[in-house]
């Protein structure tokens, strides 16, 4: 069931109407289970295709319960190995011999995000933070909620449970805001991401066409444009999906965490990851970065080395985050690239503070020219790094060898400067519109608000009719 399909909208409408008519939390939980089951079933043509995924959930439940009861460190390590091993096996990572794979076609939709939730529960159970037993019904609804199964956000159990109890009746204001959020999501997903997907496909098609005989400058331009278009496409696609599920969650009385916060306003690579896929970053910070840093800090006695420990731990964390994205070798390269970005960024911060002092470093970072250049450099690094998500390893190497090291560097500088100028222009435009709105637009009435929403709906339908294939939600693949 694709998020942009009428079937999904009909499904959501039914779920919202049915759940909205029921007040009992227990009955709502069972109905929600039914909805999750229907959503999962839509990803398989035969029930057997869902068995591996369900077995993974059951394994997670058994381990969480065992850890809650025993709080055994040994069991935690065994459990983590089992869960991560099963994940790697079910996802058919490239380094595993193909003969080891299950001899059947099966669904792995949402497996990555189920893994995050299961690991979170296992560690919390071991640390005694779970409290009482989680019922199997609640566990399944939490790990396989149709709202967050495909690509998050990665909600914590406590947040999820808050939305499962008695919920306040929906008011007209809440419903309008949820509708507006869902429609905004579709604008991003079906309009902005569709347009940039088209631009990306057109330009990257030229770049990767074996028949095309592009000169160096044409390859250079095509690669940079592809990288920029893909980044905007990915952002609009993923953020649009988030708007949709957060809006639907609101109609179901569930408050889902935000996953994006103007990521291209980030002034450095580390800040970017506090604004992009926020819940994933938080998960890695809680369950990888912090424990690793603590572990290293306990073993390194020299206090002068302390600031540099984070450099190493950032590298490892971002490497793991990159590798999580996919089962093929290009994702290792992606992880290395992201890891290098994070650790160089941290190293720069450490050295700059050492040289300039905290106050001067902070003051320097507030200068408008520095802000926009930093934003440009951050965007460009991220955009070039994302090439690993749309190029295979041989294609990536071919493009790199065609452009050469100087070409890649020149491209990085060029995209950085272009992005800096574009961000400055965008901010001026936004500020101008904001001023205009303040002068000319009082709070719109009910009719105007709904006409504005209606116009957006027509825009979505219109642009969808231009592109005969709505862009697939791209993070579904991860």
């Amino acid at each position: 069931m694709a998020f942009t399909s009428p079937t999904f909208l009909l499904f959501v409408l039914c779920v919202v109407l049915v759940l909205g008519a029921v007040r009992s939390p227990r009955a709502r939980a069972w109905l929600f289970l039914g909805a999750n089951g229907v959503f999962l079933a839509s990803h398989a043509s035969r029930p057997i295709e869902l068995l591996p995924l369900l077995a993974f959930v059951v394994l997670g439940y058994v381990l969480v319960e065992a850890l809650r009861l025993t709080r055994s460190s040994a069991l935690l390590w065994v459990g983590l190995s089992l869960v991560v091993g099963s994940f790697v096996w079910l996802k058919r990572y490239a380094f595993l011999p193909s003969s080891l794979g299950l001899p059947l076609v099966y669904a792995v939709v949402g497996l990555s995000y189920i893994l995050f939730r299961v690991v979170h529960l296992m560690i919390d159970a071991k640390q005694g933070e779970l409290g009482s037993r989680i019922s199997p019904l609640s566990f399944f609804n939490y790990t396989a909620s149709f709202l967050t199964l495909t690509a998050g956000p990665i909600q914590r159990l406590s947040e999820f449970e808050r939305g499962q109890g008695e919920t306040a009746p929906l008011t007209e204001g809440v419903v309008f805001r949820c509708f507006a959020r869902i429609i905004k999501g579709f604008i991003r997903l079906s309009v902005v991401s569709a347009i940039f997907n088209y631009l990306f496909a057109t330009v990257s098609g030229r770049l990767l066409d074996p028949q095309a005989t592009l000169g160096w400058s044409q390859s250079f331009g095509a690669y940079l444009m592809s990288a920029v278009f893909y980044t905007i496409f990915l952002y609009a696609n993923f953020a649009g999906y988030m708007d949709i599920v957060i809006g639907i969650g609101g109609l179901l009385g569930q408050s889902l965490p935000e996953n994006f916060d103007r990521p291209f306003a980030a002034r450095n690579f580390l800040e970017l990851w506090t604004r992009w896929h926020i819940t994933l970053s938080q998960w890695f910070r809680t369950y990888v970065f912090n424990p690793l840093l603590q572990l290293l800090a306990a073993r390194v006695s020299n206090p002068r080395l302390a600031p540099y420990l984070a450099v190493v731990v950032f590298f490892v964390t971002f490497l793991l985050m990159g590798v999580w994205h996919g089962a093929s070798s290009v994702f290792v390269l992606y992880g290395l690239f992201m890891g290098a970005g994070a650790s160089v960024n941290k190293l720069w911060q450490v050295l700059a503070v050492k040289r300039l002092g905290k106050a001067r470093y902070k003051a320097l970072g507030e200068k408008p020219s520095v802000v926009y250049v930093s934003r440009g450099l951050t965007f460009a690094y991220f955009a070039l790094g994302l090439s690993c998500l749309w190029l295979s390893l041989p294609e990536l190497l071919a493009v790199a060898s065609r452009l050469g090291a100087s070409g890649v560097l020149l491209g990085y500088v060029g995209v950085s400067l272009g992005a800096a100028v574009a961000f400055r222009g965008w901010d001026l435009l936004e500020a101008g519109l904001e001023r205009l709105r303040g002068v000319a637009w009082n709070a719109p009435g009910l009719v105007a608000q709904n006409l504005a929403l209606g116009l957006q709906v027509l825009l979505i339908v219109s642009v969808s009719s231009f592109f005969h294939k709505a862009p697939e939600f791209v993070y579904r693949a991860f």
């Binding site: 809440v174 929403l453 209606g454």
Partner: protein, 376 residues
């Protein structure tokens, strides 16, 4: 629940009101007819509100439901370029000539277009159809190679895309299922008018950007095409393109040939006629392609079999001079009058009483058979 239903009603009302307003505005600004009356000519698609050949043919086919003798030219881009509607019409003044060819078609898509035309025609109108099917090895590309590409839902042809685009059809288990009855096609086209206008506007505004990004060479004028000489390097590129495009280097598959036969049978079953045109390609292309050799081998067997059927004629179009083509498959504009003459010269188009003769001969055969049975 009440606030939800109220909001749904408000939003629905807003959408309907806005759409009604847009419909009125676009109908006033861009009237429906817009000079699209007359015979169908898919080469005019780009200047119509439909912009592309598949959409033009899909939306305009309702005009073919008339009880007049019609010649329906159907094929890929070489049929569109090679059989100019106006040239053919001049040579066949007592018939309506329509060119409903769609660039990039394979046999499956040609079959779909025939189905779409039949869908909007009454049985009486179908009896007046003469389909001219332009054949060469390129239209025998396998569906797997042609329609299973990342830019579309797996297996959707360009015609399928038009079927689903505005919801006139829905995707069923075994193919497209019509949602809008064919008799309401023109009403459907009027209802989606704002989308068609928006599509045209968007395409016009972005044309130059799209051309720059795609890096496609500009469309050649007739003069430029007449003067064009294909270099050796280009020949190699074209041959490599077709090897890649067809999904096989050595041989064509049986499926499209079987599909062609089914399409011919369907037209004949309605009382229509078929002209199968074996389209020429430049000699260098024919000699450099293993698939063309396989096509010729298969056609040497298939065409005589089909030609022997009532209502089927075969034309082996002459001329494979390299200089007659502006690229690997499309004839130069100076060549097309000759192609039109060869096609129009077929006896099938000049025997005014052929249908009556055919029916008379059928009656005689039936009478003979009855007589023979009675004798036994």
């Amino acid at each position: 629940m009440k606030p939800l239903l109220v909001q749904l009603a408000r939003l629905g009302g807003a959408v309907l009101a806005l759409y009604a307003a847009l419909l009125v505005i676009t109908l006033v600004a861009v009237p429906l007819a817009r000079g699209d009356a007359g015979p169908l000519d898919a080469s005019r698609a780009a200047s119509s509100l439909y912009l592309t050949e598949p959409k033009y043919v899909f939306m305009e086919r309702g005009r073919l439901n008339t009880p007049t003798d019609k010649v329906l030219v159907l094929g890929a881009s070489n049929s569109l370029v090679g059989f100019k509607q106006a040239e053919l019409q001049r040579l066949l003044p007592d018939r309506e000539v329509h060119n409903i060819s769609v660039g990039g078609s394979n046999i499956t898509q040609l079959g779909q277009i025939v189905e779409l035309v039949r869908e909007v025609q009454t049985p009486a109108a179908r009896r007046h159809d003469t389909y001219v099917l332009g054949l060469w090895y390129g239209v025998f590309a396998s569906d797997q190679a042609r329609w299973y590409t990342p830019d579309r839902h797996a297996g959707d042809t360009d015609i399928d895309i038009e079927r689903y685009r505005y919801g006139f059809f829905r995707r069923g288990e075994s193919g497209a299922v019509p949602l809008l009855p064919p008799r309401f096609l023109s009403s459907g086209a009027a209802l989606i008018h704002p989308y068609l206008v928006a599509d045209q506007l968007a395409r016009d505004v972005t044309q130059s950007l799209r051309e720059r990004l795609s890096g496609k060479p500009h469309k050649l004028t007739d003069q430029e095409r007449n003067a064009r000489v294909v270099s050796d390097a280009e020949r190699q590129q074209y041959l490599a393109f077709w090897r890649n495009y067809m999904g096989s280097v050595d041989s064509l598959s049986d499926a499209p040939f079987a599909r062609l036969r089914r399409t011919v049978d369907a037209i004949r079953a309605d009382g229509g006629k078929v002209v199968l045109v074996d389209m020429p390609i430049p000699r260098w292309h024919a000699q450099g392609s293993t698939l063309h050799a396989d096509y010729e081998r298969r056609m040497a067997q298939l065409l005589p079999e089909l030609e022997a059927l009532d209502g089927v004629a075969v034309l082996r179009l002459s001329g494979d001079d390299d200089d007659d083509f502006s690229d690997e498959v499309h004839p130069k504009p100076r060549v097309t009058p000759r192609w039109a003459e060869e096609l129009a010269a077929l006896p099938l188009f000049h025997d005014d009483n052929q249908r009556e003769d055919h029916e008379y001969r059928s009656t005689l055969r039936q009478a003979d058979a009855g007589f023979s049975r009675r004798i036994r």
